[in-house]
Subunit: 165 residues, 2 copies
């Protein structure tokens, strides 16, 4: 899987853009994770799981759906749900309709946790991402982001349509 010798190097302009993005790629997730960890004691992935459940009808989802929604492997989700179960925020039930599915259900405590956690997280996103940008840049970011996302994973849902999965 090697690449042609004589690699096409990056121009100054390209390099600048790439370094800027690389910096965001490393630091923004760390900052977001940090906020959740400090203020709520959960990881971003755990938040996504809880938030996903909270927005779902019956606050219930199949493990496999939930894994996709939270962008993680089924195995990872299984481990995480085990932990969330121990903390009393999620419950597992076999799907009565089909025994090989497992349903993850958000408990009342879990709902409380989401309600308590979401505003801080949204605020962090606002502070770190949205507020530094102009409205024009926010629109530009949408376009740039979805182009890159499409290049990375052409079959992946484009983020704006993620919910129709």
């Amino acid at each position: 899987m090697d690449v042609p010798r004589e690699p096409r190097w990056l121009s100054e302009e390209e390099m600048t853009a790439w370094l800027a993005l690389a910096s965001v790629l490393i630091r923004l997730p760390a900052a977001l994770d940090g906020q959740l960890q400090r203020d709520a004691g959960i990881s971003h992935f755990e938040y996504q799981v809880l938030a996903g459940l909270s927005m779902s009808p019956e606050r219930t989802m199949r493990m496999s759906e939930l894994a996709q929604l939270a962008d993680g492997s089924l195995s990872r989700l299984s481990h995480v749900v085990s932990r969330l179960e121990k903390r009393g925020w999620v419950r597992r039930t076999p799907d009565p309709a089909n025994g090989r599915y497992t349903l993850a259900v958000l408990t009342d405590d879990g709902w409380e946790k989401v309600v308590a956690t979401a505003p801080g997280h949204v605020e962090a996103v606002r502070t770190l991402v949205l507020e530094p940008l102009t409205r024009t840049q926010i629109r530009q970011l949408s376009e740039i982001g979805s182009r890159i996302a499409r290049a990375v994973d052409p079959d992946g849902d484009c983020p704006t349509t993620r919910f129709r999965r």
Copy 2:
């Protein structure tokens, strides 16, 4: 550290931009890591370490400098360099000028590794990030990226000036 009740929610436009970025944040690093793992059997962090050394005079750097350059903790770097040492790509020496510094030196094999790996990585960056964008968008990305990076870490170097550290 809670946030005012009555959270300011995200507008449609903001939500779209955030979802697009979030998608990139999760998938692009995974794709980049995957390429390096498949084609070279190393992680992105290991690549950064090797590449950092290869671009440094004498192919040598202090551990602490290298840690900053590669955006990781000193502890993490120490563990990684241990592994790279075992693979024969890096050597450690105490700094003759000052015994409490440790110098990491890229071996000839390490140099070969970088030379063999870099083109593929650059190509991946080009394919996944640069080619999907217009020249205008590449410039927009620079500005957007550095604004977010600055919001995340105001004291951090802005990426274009990273090298003068």
